[in-house]
Point group: C2
Chain length 344, copies 2
Amino acid sequence: MRATVMHAAGDVRIEKVPDPTIIESTNALVRVTRACICGSDLWPYRSMARSDRGQPMGHEAIGVIEAVGADVRNVKRGDVVVMPFASSDGTCIFCHEGLPTACVHLGFFGNQGNDGAQAEAIRIPYADGTLYPLSVGQDDALMPSLLTLADVMGTGHHAAVVAKVGPGKDVAIVGDGAVGLRGVIAAKRLGAARNVLLGRHSDRIALAREFGATDIVSERGPEAIERVRQLTGGQGVHAVLECVGLTQAMETAIAITRAGGAIGGVGAPQEAAMPGSQAGFYHNVTVGGGPAPVRAYIPDLLPDILEGRIQPGRVFDRIVDLDGVPGGYRDMNDRKALKVMVRP
Amino acid sequence: MRATVMHAAGDVRIEKVPDPTIIESTNALVRVTRACICGSDLWPYRSMARSDRGQPMGHEAIGVIEAVGADVRNVKRGDVVVMPFASSDGTCIFCHEGLPTACVHLGFFGNQGNDGAQAEAIRIPYADGTLYPLSVGQDDALMPSLLTLADVMGTGHHAAVVAKVGPGKDVAIVGDGAVGLRGVIAAKRLGAARNVLLGRHSDRIALAREFGATDIVSERGPEAIERVRQLTGGQGVHAVLECVGLTQAMETAIAITRAGGAIGGVGAPQEAAMPGSQAGFYHNVTVGGGPAPVRAYIPDLLPDILEGRIQPGRVFDRIVDLDGVPGGYRDMNDRKALKVMVRP
């Protein structure tokens, strides 16, 4: 089959690779009908050292099950399924607690020997715990939004949950990328009174307003902090969704959090020594977050997508086939595209 | 009157100073009957640059009200009161939300022009919001435990609340100082299943066991982390009370927290760039904490002291009069005393 392999920074290729097969009795094979290029795929795209073997890419998908191992019970051939960015066994204590991204059998697609999703097909470890079957056809018009359940919508929701967004709370979202925009949706969905997006790209801002952002702060650093304080009677917001993962973003997040407030950080830390809650110690600011347990959030978020209350799929602004994937990386990296959907 | 003034590191003096007076109509004057030397008083004791004016010391007290301003309603002359380490107006939005240490009129005793409590008397700003009247006589046998409501018991409790301690949770307390030992009490009180103290002083360990510690870890660094993991089936604890405020302590706290767990940090950060939750990102660890809203916790903790269910006053191992205060600092600094009570 054909799959996306990254060989070095800037060097993404579509290659012929062996077809995936059932190896363990808990595996499933999924024919990928939708995948994405993720903002996090751009980190290796900017920095990866050359590798002969290369790195399979892609960790968000919807597809159709082609085969299952003998011990798979919850999904069957022909099912349309969401594939979250990480595999989990569904049975361990962390899965039961709703944190499948701490599963004792956790695996990240595209890493640790796992297949990538920007491919014609993919082998799924622990299919019962990982895949979520959908009651829609594979060409349903809701596919773009359903695809976001694999990562970005669940990740934005996680930031909002960790930041304790609730009815009447003032909320700020740091970052207007694909996750930040879903953070706006998540904050509105959970009842935010004020829903402030910190971002500076006009097309994204327009979308954020449609998603429910009440205020836009396009300044940076101290000016951004001052502006959020002005908007909130000098106090800052109750909840901040940090959707970037850089030091300045976290510093801003801490500085705009109201005393006693909370930050949900879902931007994977891209610097070694990012500030944490200790920087907000004197204001009793709490900082949490991490890889979002998106599999656990699907039952909560899915009805809102199926019934049209949220439309996180609107963030996709480009659709490519596999041959278009290298160009999709380039355009996302050049900020000519916000989020690219792949139809292998 | 006589009061404690620090002039430089190691230079603590008892001096004659002007008697406090009612300045604002919301003030009260309190004759101090019990005060403490706090672990945090040792920071300037080790580092303060010489000052001609000096720094009034002490921020925890019980006393008797001698006079109140015209607008004071909740306390009256003759009342025995607890004085939390910070003053708060009791009326602002943060006080109403239970976070008086974010009060818009917040003041720290011994700082910002406020009197210190290691003195014969002290002026209290915003007496109605700050002082908590007790229904006991000034010589009640419970005084040592009641005195801890001014800071250390409430601070240990805050760490436990922020760390989300609850019934059946595995808990670790990093630090066997005066706050850490109250953290053991707080964790037990809130239902901790496993109550692990990380500490290495035999007298404190003995006390911790009486307070409910189920396990003692006296190793440090990687060995301590390994030991806690062994105690918890390899997973770490649900909740960590970080009661030190140093980088190594926070690093240990993050490393021993179970995926999805929480850290309540109440050791004021003593280093500029302490690790925060970002260090625990991949385990979805939450880090919070800050100056404890001890005033807000008194109604919750007081009945347990009055009815003898908790005895946080047992941590005091030395009682001095004002003349004994300089020696008390020295002995706490030399670890010859754990926590010194002052009876002016």
